[in-house]
Each structure stands twice: as C-alpha cells, then as structure tokens.
C-alpha cells in the first residue's frame, strides 16, 4: 500500500497545475464568448472568483501529493495519543 500511496502522490503533484491550466483555458474561452459590456464583466468576475479559490486548493493537492511521495501517509495516527 505504501508504494501505491507514493506513486499516486506523483499523480496528485501533476494534477494540481493541470487543473489550474485547464481552468485558465476555460476562463479565457468563456470570457471571450461572453457579449461585450456587463455580461463580460460578470463572466470575468465569476471566473476570477473560481480561479482565486482553486489556486490554493490545487496548491494543496500538490502539497498532498508531495507528502504522499515522501511517505508522510505511510503511517497515520491510530489513536488520539498519536495526534
């Protein structure tokens, strides 16, 4: 199981930036499609909030992957004494 945790860790490290790039591409696409004026401002605002929220979440995913790769999850606390 430890090996699997580590290998999947690499996947999470890669997934973080990939998701952010995908979101930026979608944002550019949808903002470009929106009509000029308030509709475009509204779409830009929506996507700005989503990207603002997902950057720290995806950074968290990369850190999670890094911890997994380094073996931090090989043993998790079994009881409160280990917390």
């Amino acid at each position: 199981m430890s090996g699997l945790k580590k290998i999947l860790g690499l996947l999470w490290i890669v997934a973080g930036p990939v998701i952010i790039i995908f979101l930026f591409m979608q944002a550019a696409d949808k903002i470009g499609e929106a009509a000029e004026g308030i509709a475009r401002t509204n779409t830009t605002l929506q996507w700005a909030i989503i990207i603002l929220i997902f950057i720290p979440i995806c950074t968290g995913l990369v850190i999670f992957g890094y911890y997994a790769w380094k073996g931090e999850y090989d043993h998790l606390p079994e009881s409160s004494e280990e917390l």
Binding site: G37, I38, N42, L45, E72, Y73, P77, S79
Partner: protein, 511 residues
C-alpha cells in the same frame, strides 16, 4: 446510579437539541435566500438585467465560495481560543440578525442601489456565520458524547442541513398558500426572513443555558489552549497533512454527493425534464422525509464498523448509479416520444399575444394541454415570432414542453430514485462530523475541521450547478454530461479516501 445515568442522558439530549436547533436555523436562514432569490431580485434589485446579474454573482459566488471558508478560519480560530459555546452563539446571532434585516430592507424603488448593496452585505455576513457554525456545533456535541456513541450523537447535527432545506421550503409554501401569490410577491416574502428572529431568540436562550464543552474547559483549566490555532493547524506538518487528507479523501466527495442528491436532482427534474414546479418540489420533500432517519442510522452504524467505508460506499454508489438514475428521469419524462403512441386527449388551444422584449416584433404563443394514456399531462407551446421587417428571415416556430406531471407509477419511481440519492447523502454525511472531530486534537479541532468541511461542501459541492452547466455547454454534450463533474470528484475522493484514510474510531477525543 440510575439517577446519574439519567442526568447524563438528559444533559446530552439537551446538548444535541441546543446545538441541532441552532444549526438547523442557520441552514434555514441560508436556504430561504436561495429559495426566494427570484422575488428578492424583483423587489430589491434594479430591473437592469446586467447590473442585477453582477450583484447576484457576487452574492452567490462570494458568499458560498470565499466567505464560507473564510468564516471557517475566523470562527474556527475564535472557537479554539475562547471556546466552542460562545463562538457558535456569536455565529447564530450574526446569521439570525442578518436574515432578519434582509426581511426589512426597503425595495429598490424606495432606496435605489442601497437595497441590493445591503442584500449583498447581509448575504456575505450569512456566509461568514455559516462558515463558523457547523464546526462549532459538531465539535461541541462530539466533545460531550460518550465513548462509542460519537457517530450516533453527531449524526443529529448532520440531519440539520437537510431539515433546514425542508423547513425553508415548508415555510415558504405555507406562507404563500395563506397569503396568496400576489400578496406573497408584494410583501409576504419578507415573513420567512422575519420569522427567523423568533427561532433564533429561542435557540440563543437555549444555548445560553448550556455549559462549555468539558474537553475544552479541561484544556483551558490546564492552560493548554492553543496560542495560535491557525499556525498550528496549517503550518505544522503533522496536522496540515490531516487537513489535506480530510479535504481530498472525504469532504470533497461528500460535498458533490450532497449537492447532487438534494439540489441538482430537483433542478434537473424541473429544468431539463420540464417537470411541473410543484411536482419537482413535492418529490424532493417526500424523499427528504423518508431519507432523513438514515443520517442517524449511518452515524450510529459508524460507531460499530468505522466511518471510512460507510462514507466511501456512499461515494462509490453515486459514481456507479448517477447516470442510470438520471437517464431514467429523462426517459420517464420524454413526452415528445410518448405522445406518438400514447396520446389520449388534447385541450382547446389557448392563444396569447405579446411583444418580443426590446423589439417591435410580435410574439404568438399557442398552448395545448395534452393527456397521455398512462395519466401523464403536459403543456406544449408553439412560439411564433411575427417580424415587421419584410426583408428579415422568418424565425422558425419553436415548440416548448413544460409543466409535465408524471403517471403515478413514474412519480413513485422518481421519488424512490431521489430518496436513494439522499440515502447516499446520509451515508457520506452522517458519519463525517465524528470522522473530522476524531482526526484533530482538541486545541485546534474547531479550526482544523471547519476549513476542509467548508471547502468540500461549499466550494466543491456549491459548484455542482455551475460546472454541470459549463460541461453541458461543451460541443457534443448531452443532458447527462453535467454529471461527469460530481462523478469525477466523487471517484477521485473515493480513491484518495480508500488509499490514504484509516478506518479508525477513536475512543478518546480528550487529546
């Protein structure tokens, strides 16, 4: 001896009642805004669609996705510094006060842009308060619960989000039926907001009489309260890695299963399947009534078999079953196909004439109510645009299906399938409070559990409608394509949970 046991039981019952009632009211407050968004838009927002959309975006996106996690940090920190009782009392006051004040805001026609700006500010306060409430209530109950019954006792807190939704729908339907549609749209919509203050006062009175959590009191007496809960939660690797695994392995999947079962299902039935407005709501209400006890059943069961596999089974069943369930919804409401072989009768056509907004063109809508041999009814409207410009291309006549009502057999089947989705919600959500509480030490429990919960539920769950609509806009998409978002996130969370989470049931939270 028997008397002591009775006192302990009574005390825990009071703890659960006080915590659950307050949390239920907070969810009620949060949902009535969503349920009455259209009327609020008409009364308090400018008629200019663009400006309205902008303020709405801020109210929905900012309150749900930014302010809720921020509230989790602010109040989580406070709860770990000064105590659980006073912090979740404060969130209740903020939530109840802001809801009451929304009911008092003068209309846009009276005070202009001050009305939507006040709505926005109060909505942000609601989001902030909600972010702080849940972690406090769950921690407070868990720290009172006897060993081996933490899942059972905290599961009562877990029923409140669903019951808050039920209560908000119930109060709105009742007020509307008593006052009539016109009065309700004019001023009656304020009543559900104003009623909230009565509920909040009762809840504050009950909570004021409760004592601080014994675990936190002991910590405080020993001088072991954390000096900086935020730093300890997110800068200490041993704890931060647990925050990450809680988010990606549990709350992220829980959030999408929760929103798909309770919101996306109803929205899909109404908007995609064109089900009648009331029928889609009654289906949800019935499903909630029958499924709610399962929060307690699964919470209690998790005390015996562990939290992990109950939650993950709920996610896996969602991954496997969502597409067949929603395909059934589409098939059961495909009246276009059914009427080819099952048409029983048609009403006389009703013709309505109007104007195309902002144009000189005329709009003729011809509506026929059709009944099928299986008892289903629906309205079929043909919308025709008569343009005055003789050189302009003649627009095609559009056929619109709406107000579909189901046959008895399909109605029961759809209730069962929505019920099944809410049972999945109870599987992922029932044990999660106990799971989160046991993952973190007392000093930083409120802070550490609140953030992953509100990112999972608020951000990943709250984005289900937005991302489902986004996916549906891709080229070649089908009405079921939007489901790939909850399916993908639940599958990812299942894998991370299965590989990285322990199936522990911690007997002791006095750490």
């Amino acid at each position: 001896m028997r008397s002591t046991e009775s006192n302990v039981t009574q005390s825990i019952t009071q703890v659960i009642a006080a915590s659950s009632l307050g949390t239920l009211i907070e969810w009620y407050d949060f949902y009535i805004f969503g349920s009455l968004a259209v009327i609020i838009g008409q009364q308090l927002f400018p008629s200019d669609a663009g400006a309205s959309a902008l303020i709405n975006t801020l109210a929905i996106f900012a309150a749900g996705f930014i302010v809720r996690p921020f509230g989790a940090l602010v109040f989580g920190r406070l709860g770990d510094l000064i105590g659980r009782k006073y912090t979740f009392l404060l969130t209740l006051v903020l939530m109840g006060g802001s809801t009451f004040l929304i009911g008092l805001i003068p209309s846009y026609s009276s005070i202009g842009y001050a009305a939507p700006i006040l709505v926005l500010i109060l909505r942000l306060v609601q989001g902030l308060a909600l972010g702080g409430e849940y972690g406090g209530a769950a921690t407070y109950v868990a720290e009172h619960a006897p060993v081996g019954k933490r899942g059972f006792f905290t599961s009562w807190i877990q029923t409140t989000a669903t019951l808050g939704l039920f209560l908000s729908l119930g109060v709105i339907v009742l007020t509307k039926n008593i006052l009539g549609a016109k009065n309700f749209a004019d001023w009656g919509w304020r009543i559900p907001f104003l009623v909230s203050i009565l509920l909040v006062v009762v809840s504050i009175y009950i909570r004021m009489k409760m004592h601080e959590s014994p675990v936190f009191s002991k910590l405080k007496a020993e001088g072991k309260v954390s000096a900086n809960p935020l730093k300890e939660s997110f800068q200490k690797k041993a704890n931060f890695k647990m925050v990450l695994v809680a988010l990606f392995g549990a709350t992220m999947g829980q959030g999408v299963v929760w929103y798909t079962g309770q919101f996306y299902a109803q929205s899909f039935l109404e908007n995609t399947c064109k089900l009648d407005f009331n029928e889609s709501r009654y289906i949800l209400l019935w499903a909630i009534v029958f499924a709610t006890p399962f929060f307690v059943i699964f919470g209690s069961w998790s005390d015996k078999v562990g939290r992990k596999w109950i939650m993950l089974t709920g996610m896996l069943l969602g991954v496997v079953c969502y597409r067949p369930i929603y395909q059934y919804f589409l098939d059961a409401t495909d009246v276009k196909e059914m009427q080819k072989t099952m048409l029983l009768s048609e009403s006389e056509p009703v013709v309505e004439r109007g104007l195309v907004p902002d144009k000189a063109d005329s709009l003729i809508t011809t509506t026929i109510t059709k009944t099928l041999t299986n008892g289903m009814t629906f309205k079929e409207s043909k919308v025709e645009v008569i343009t005055e410009d003789v050189l302009a291309e003649v627009p095609a006549v559009q056929t619109v299906i709406k107000d579909v009502t189901l046959s008895t057999q399909s109605y029961i089947m759809v209730i069962l399938l929505v019920f099944f989705q809410i049972v999945l919600v109870t599987m992922v959500y029932g044990p999660i409070a106990a799971f989160l509480v046991e993952l973190f030490p007392t000093q930083i429990r409120y802070t550490s559990m609140s953030l992953p919960y509100h990112i999972g539920n608020g951000v990943f769950g709250g984005l289900v409608p937005f991302i489902a609509t986004l996916i549906a806009s891709f080229q070649g998409s089908t009405p079921l394509s939007g489901l790939w978002y909850p399916i993908g996130i639940a599958a990812l969370s299942f894998i991370i949970g299965a590989v990285y989470i322990n199936n522990r049931r911690d007997e002791n939270v006095m750490d």
